[in-house]
């Protein structure tokens, strides 16, 4: 069960601090937990963990392929490795290692890819993952998660020590909008219906959840009633919830800080077509590369805004009417 915060504000806790503190707390009683990084410990916020557990923390240097292989080998001996790099390196650079050494080998590995999409900001197009989830989505049986805020991140990190398999966590590092009240709980593989509505369903993930909630208000002022779903698990996507929303609203807008090709829009559309075909409009980066700039500039540049979600809702409602 989850409870929404009453107002949309930036959460005071940085995502990376919550990630580190939660793992530190869990590691105290669980000797299986270990952490790996590829020369980005300063960025991932894991310095306190590395200081507290030097025997279980490995800075691999700038070697993402080797890091994932080492993580897979560790897990074969019963460890639960959490391996971090920027999302681009953690996925593109180590894709075959994630495939064979971890997933195909049916091992137990957590991969954390930070700075999703436009949050990579000043690092620019080379460092801006609009494709990390898409790269991994075609690997069988992998689970893809994008924690929405610090409350969800903490809960998911805890849950990830109780499950088995290969999990990718797409994690913003700094302050993001706080969506959930402390004490909320979440189920991997189940989307959260945040707000109910009857005309259209807005399915969002990550930084786009707050934008979808804002878009809902804009649409309400126009007499349009929208559901809002936080689809933090991209794979396996919650087809049951999607089918229900399709039956109840008959139209979707997806919103992701990622390429619509291979991303959340694709995942939702596949489920919609397989269950209850209705029109879908997608908000995302539409097959473009990233570029340098402030996060605010990039949100406007790639139309990752509440305004664009509302516009997409109007378009999809026009299609639905035909």
């Amino acid at each position: 069960m989850f409870k929404l915060r009453e107002t949309l504000e930036k959460s005071p806790d940085m995502m990376r601090d919550v990630y580190c503190n939660t793992l530190m707390e869990l590691a105290e009683t669980d000797p299986r937990i270990c952490a790996l990084d590829a020369d980005l410990v300063s960025s991932s916020g894991m310095k306190p963990f590395f200081r507290a557990y030097p025997d279980r923390a490995i800075n691999c240097g700038v070697q993402e392929a080797n890091m994932i292989g080492v993580a897979a080998g560790l897990s074969a001996t019963g460890k639960i490795p959490f391996a971090h790099s920027f999302g681009i390196f953690a996925t593109r650079r180590a894709c075959d290692q994630i495939f064979m050494s971890a997933a195909y080998a049916k091992l137990n590995v957590r991969i954390v890819g930070s700075d999703p999409g436009v949050t990579a900001a000043y690092n620019g197009g080379t460092h801006m993952p609009f494709e990390d989830m898409g790269v991994l989505r075609s690997i069988p049986q992998i689970t893809l998660l994008e924690p929405t805020d610090p409350v969800m991140l903490e809960e998911l990190v805890r849950k990830l020590t109780e499950v088995y398999g290969v999990y990718y966590i797409r994690m913003a590092r700094k302050n993001v909008a706080g969506i959930y009240e402390k004490g909320s709980s979440f189920t991997i593989g189940r989307g959260n219906l945040l707000k109910d509505g009857s005309d259209v369903t807005l399915i969002a993930s990550g930084i786009m959840v707050a934008e979808a909630l804002k878009a809902r208000e804009v649409l309400a002022s126009e007499g349009i009633s929208a559901k809002v779903v936080d689809m933090f698990t991209w794979k396996p996507v919650d087809s049951e919830l999607i089918a229900r929303c399709a039956a109840e609203t008959g139209a979707f807008v997806t919103a992701e800080n990622h390429n619509t090709v291979g991303g959340l829009g694709s995942a939702v559309t596949e489920a919609v077509c397989a269950t209850c075909p209705v029109p879908v409009e997608m908000v995302g980066t539409h097959d473009r590369f990233g570029q340098v700039g402030t996060e605010d500039f990039l949100r406007e540049e790639y139309k990752l805004t509440a305004g664009e979600i509302a516009a997409a809702a109007r378009r999809v409602l026009a299609r639905k009417a035909k």
């Binding site: 080797n66 292989g69 080998g73 560790l74 001996t77 490795p81 495939f99 050494s101 080998a105 049916k106």
Partner: protein, 283 residues
Amino acid sequence: MEKKQLVEKLSVFAEEIRLETLEEFAALGFGHVGGAMSVVETLAVLYGHEMKYDPKNPRWPDRDWLVLSKGHAGPALYATLSLKGFFSREMLFTLNRGGTKLPSHCDRNLTPGVDMTTGSLGQGISTAIGAALGNRMDGRDNYTYFILGDGECNEGQVWEGALFAPQHNLDHLIGFVDYNGQQLDGYTKDILDLGDIAAKFREFGWFAQEIDGHSVEAILDAVEAAKKNRGAPSMIVLRTKKGHGCTFAEGIEANHHIAFKPEQMEKALACTRTRLASAERAN
């Protein structure tokens, strides 16, 4: 057991492995013959003497591990495991058949006794390092072995692992490179010359030895020396011949994956049986 007797026993075991591996291929008519033949003596020393394991409990936590990073040599490992009682001889003749537990490349989830899934080259060094680290974290003193191909050493990941393992003082990690001088498309010298592999690993901080990879005695001595070495991982470069001991594979250029005629295989089997009989007489 005296060393002379041990060497004789392991020489017999090596020819048994070679014979059973060829029998697996014989049933199929093709396979990765070359690279399977060149690691036979190493497998004989590891499973015949150096490694501790329990065929009844293949995932025994205190076992020694082998990551056959050149996963295409799987059939030689399957023959070894079968001879040591991990599974029946009949299973060997299911190699590569639909639904088999013995795929062309090693799979830890299918084959009892296979410690790691391999096949995409360059990855086994990293998973072996991970296993060695995990075992050390848990205070075990078991060894993790891994076998790389020489063509496999073209992969950058091998050299990532080569840098990493000495940094972490993994002295219970013992690797081999099967330096038979041939890769899929031809001779390593012509495609991507590896030069002095032992010197390269030594420079990276490994205790590196280079030996005759078809001499069980040399392999025994090298593994014993590696076990005595402290504070650094070990690399044993095996000077081998691709296709060694298989009459239709040895000495030809295109011997990575071969289709053969039944009469060619009959001859290879007969020659191997003769060598086995001679090794048994010496034993």
